[in-house]
Every structure is written in structure tokens, then in C-alpha cells.
Symmetry: C2
Subunit: 205 residues, 2 copies
């Protein structure tokens, strides 16, 4: 069975960079935005719209995986809330694509609940996080030149993105995003150089 590495990450923690470098070091494919692009292709929705659905979903009353026991309530809810239906359709498409990717070869997949979607393949599940100060510093380094958030604004921005990621993950998996028990390794990037840790991490595989 192919060796799959999944990476969950807080915004600004460097998880994407860690995933990309780890895939490079291991000489295996790396998937991130490619998945959104593939969903857009298959659903004929614009990529930006798919991204928006994935990232901006609101918390709803019944997570779909629990709601199976509450079929009537869910049916009613879906019938009255097309956004849920759309988000659910996109999640199903995403799951299908992620399973196809895992079927093809060893790989690194960033985000998108891949740890949960592929759980029967026992992926190696990494979660990357850092303290707020370091995440803010990293965001400023990578921000476009015309982006000028104040400190408070940037902190709020980071917290909002992570809140959405958590809500998306918790909703679709019934697990808690960032809870160590759902990962094999949790790496705090506050005090480390991602470039230096990647060759060591790679030896795990």
C-alpha cells in the first residue's frame, strides 16, 4: 500500500512549506491547491468559488456524519439550505479525488481532511502549529506588498482562518481539529527551522 503523509496545519505555521519540502526530500508528489483545481474541473464550478465553499462554510446545527441518525431533520435542513448541499457535494468530490490520488503513488497531501478520508490506509498524520507571534511574523514575510494589516487585525485574520479550518474539519470528520490524538506527530514550528527539520522527518519514512 502506498505511503501517504497528511499534513494539517494552523495558518501561518509553515505547514504547507513543511509538506512541500518533505515531498521534495522524499521525491514523491505533493498535493494542495491541485485538489481544489481538480474539483473545479470536475464540477465545472470556478476554482475561486470551490475555494470559497471549502473555506467559508459556516457551522450548522447537525454535522452530516452524525445526522445519519436524524435523517428527517437533515433532509429538512438540506432542503432548506442549498449551501449545505453544495458543500456536501464538494466534500464528496474532494474525498473521491483524494482517494484516487492515494491510489496512484506515495504522496504528501496538505489539509482537506485527508487524514480522515484516508484513515483506512493508515496515513502518517502530521499537524503543524506555532505560537501567534511566530505565525504573525511568518504571515508578514509571505504577505503581498500591498497587504498592510495592523497587528490586531492580522491576529484576528489568522484566528478567523483557523476557526474556519477547525469548523470545516470538525464538521466533516466528527473529530477535533488539532487534537493530538488525531495525529501521529504534532510539530511546533515556533522555535525551529523548517528547512533543517525536514531531512530528519524524512527519515521516519
Amino acid at each position: 500500500m502506498n505511503k501517504i503523509i497528511t499534513i494539517g496545519r494552523q495558518f501561518g505555521s509553515g505547514g504547507r512549506e513543511l509538506g512541500r519540502l518533505l515531498a521534495e526530500e522524499l521525491g514523491i508528489p505533493y498535493y494542495d491547491q491541485e485538489i481544489v483545481r481538480e474539483i473545479a474541473d470536475r464540477t465545472l464550478m470556478p476554482e475561486s468559488y470551490v475555494q470559497q465553499i471549502i473555506e467559508q462554510r459556516k457551522i450548522v446545527a447537525f454535522p452530516l456524519h452524525i445526522a445519519k441518525s436524524f435523517q428527517l431533520a437533515t433532509d429538512l435542513q438540506i432542503a432548506t439550505n442549498p449551501k449545505i448541499e453544495e458543500s456536501s457535494a464538494i466534500f464528496n468530490q474532494q474525498s473521491k479525488i483524494i482517494r484516487e490520488i492515494a491510489e496512484k503513488s506515495d504522496c504528501v497531501i496538505v489539509g482537506r481532511c485527508a487524514d480522515y478520508i484516508l484513515k483506512e490506509r493508515n496515513p502518517y498524520r502530521i499537524f503543524v502549529y506555532a505560537d501567534m507571534e511566530k505565525k504573525m511574523k511568518r504571515c508578514r514575510e509571505y504577505a503581498p506588498e500591498n497587504e498592510n494589516f495592523g497587528d490586531k487585525e492580522l491576529e484576528k485574520h489568522i484566528m478567523e482562518i483557523d476557526k474556519r479550518r477547525a469548523s470545516y474539519y470538525n464538521f466533516h470528520t466528527g473529530q477535533k481539529w488539532g487534537d493530538p490524538i488525531n495525529y501521529d506527530l504534532c510539530i511546533n514550528t515556533t522555535n525551529l527551522s523548517i528547512k533543517e527539520i525536514v531531512p530528519i522527518l524524512a527519515k521516519l519514512f
Copy 2:
């Protein structure tokens, strides 16, 4: 400044073994029960009694580090609760010993809030955990022959020990035991061989 590695661990997760092997691999001293023995020597209390005070402390209303702002309430509480005073005296002694240890040489220290006590020395803080099934399996492997816990009883036993560890840590540090943000690396030992991961981990230092 000496390189200090601290290890927090769930009961049955293999954290102690990981710490011991890591110290061996790095050729540096390893401290665990030695600290309790040293407290016992210095306070002239029996080692088993010191252990009991450390492990069996109950949650109290005001953590001491917060209670500084509530001096009167704390004074009253300590005056009426000699156990708190004793536990606090032992924690102070323990902190002193841990600082002396860190002063001497590079080392690995297991448990005892060492990550918090030595925070100004920027220790590398590892937390080791596993799922309940694996922790139960490990406990059975290492249990004395005459110990015959049923499954439910063993699970309860493990949960109680971790509850005490959490309460001791949270009380003395004002941080949350096992919360990733308080550690540099959290390692799930459910699916891995501790002997195999140690040489890789050692490369971090």
C-alpha cells in the same frame, strides 16, 4: 547553555522508555525517579510519601500561581489545608533540584513540570501519548505478574493516573497538560516502535 530535553507523557504511552533511550542515544544523563529520591533525602521524608504527595494531590479551588492576586483567600486556604502547604514545599524543593540538574550538564528530564520550571532555558519539550488500547497493551506487558486488572478496571486506572498528572501540572504551571502549544513536539506512540524512532529523534539535537 546546556541542552535540556523535557518529556511529558501519558501513563502507558512509553514516554519514560523514550526518554531513557533518547538519553542513552545522546550519551547524556536521564532523570526521573532520581528527583523524587533527592527530594526525600533533602526533606527527610520517606520517598514513598513524597511520591504520594506528588501523585495524589487533589484539585483545589485556587491554583497558587493565580492565587497571588487573592493573597487573603490563599492564606486562609493554606492555613486550613496543611496538604497544600506540604505539596507546595515539595514543589519548591523539586524546582530547586531540577534547576541544579539543568545547571550541571545536558540531560533528559521526565515529568515533574520540568518544561515549565526550566522555561527560561528554552528546553526542548516533548509530549508522548497514545490511544487507550495501546496504553492498556503496554501496561499489561510491563505489569507485575500478580497484577490482574480487568479491561475496564485498567482503563479507569490509566485515566485516573493521567487525571492526577494533569491536575498536578495545571495547578503548578497554570498551563494545560498535553496541550500542544506547551510542547515543541508531540509524539503519538500508538503505531510506532519507540526503539526505531529514538535514533531519528536524536538527530534533532
